[in-house]
């Protein structure tokens, strides 16, 4: 019985963390969208750097989801 509770807790923890990382991934997509909107509205010299950072952040967010699925 206690073993089962431990297993359920572990599954719940894993599910919560995976869900959290997926939500964060959505946030990463929103940041990319936001940066694109901003750079379309205002053109400046360093816009490509900002877009690159936004995509880099998105890539790390995807990596975080994989990391969670693999490590937990």
């Amino acid at each position: 019985m206690l073993q089962n509770i431990g297993l359920y807790l572990y599954l719940f923890q894993k599910l919560a963390v995976v869900l959290g990382t997926i939500l964060y991934l959505v946030f990463g997509v929103i940041i990319v969208k936001q940066t694109s909107t901003m750079t379309k509205n205002i053109n400046d010299k360093f816009n490509f750097v900002l877009i690159a950072f936004a995509y880099l952040h998105l890539a790390f967010s995807v990596f975080l989801v994989f990391l969670t699925l693999v490590m937990l």
């Binding site: 923890q13 963390v17 959290g20 990382t21 964060y24 946030f27 990463g28 929103i30 940041i31 969208k33 936001q34 940066t35 909107t37 901003m38 379309k40 509205n41 205002i42 053109n43 400046d44 010299k45 360093f46 900002l50 950072f53 936004a54 952040h57 790390f60 967010s61 975080l64 990391l67 969670t68 490590m71 937990l72």
Partner: protein, 240 residues
Amino acid sequence: MPRIKDVDTVAPDDQTTAPVTPKPPKKPVTTPNAPADVAPDIASLSDTVYNIFGHTKHSFSSSLIMPKVFNFTEKDDDETILLALRSHWFTNVPWIISLIVMLFVPTLIGFVPTFSLAFNLKIIITFAWYLITFAYSFEQFLSWYFDVYIVTNHRVIDIDFNNLLDKKFSEADLARIQDVTSRVSGVSQTIFNYGTVLIQTAAEKNQIIFDKVPNPEKIVKVLQDLRHIAEKDSTNGGLE
């Protein structure tokens, strides 16, 4: 005895052996960064702005004077950006301090003996924490970088990105500006010379606020000068 041939001292009716070629007309003195094909009015406007503000030192400056690369979607073809303003750099200090603190949080938590987690979970949480830290600082920087106040030869513009996907665009014609006032309050604003510029207009949106901009007195002076020029030229069909 031969007559003197110095053209500067030759009287108009004097005959000289060499034909006197007229000097080319002097080029009008314009500011170096002003576009070559600008109309004289634009040149004089840019001179007005340069005289008051000086020149931009770098692209991350809070005040971009006659920026070459900078542009915005709603800009008309015949419109020239005279001034693009962001909030003063000092307004970034609070989030930079937060960023530094956030960077050290995982290390500090590691020293707390009671806070024990599984190694795998620890790695994931630490990684996620640094991602959140990056996202937070990136958001703050984007807000500072893209919340701009623009003064063109036609109008005053306020572009705000309030949150993630919300854009606010306000504008008022230069000729419709009624009153411009500045306010510098507090210790940091007094030390670093930044503050708020309130622009009362006769437009639909009757007030445009330039918040925490550097050199507010200079901005007021620029706007007043531009308004006078716009008022003067409005009878002749507006500024070109």
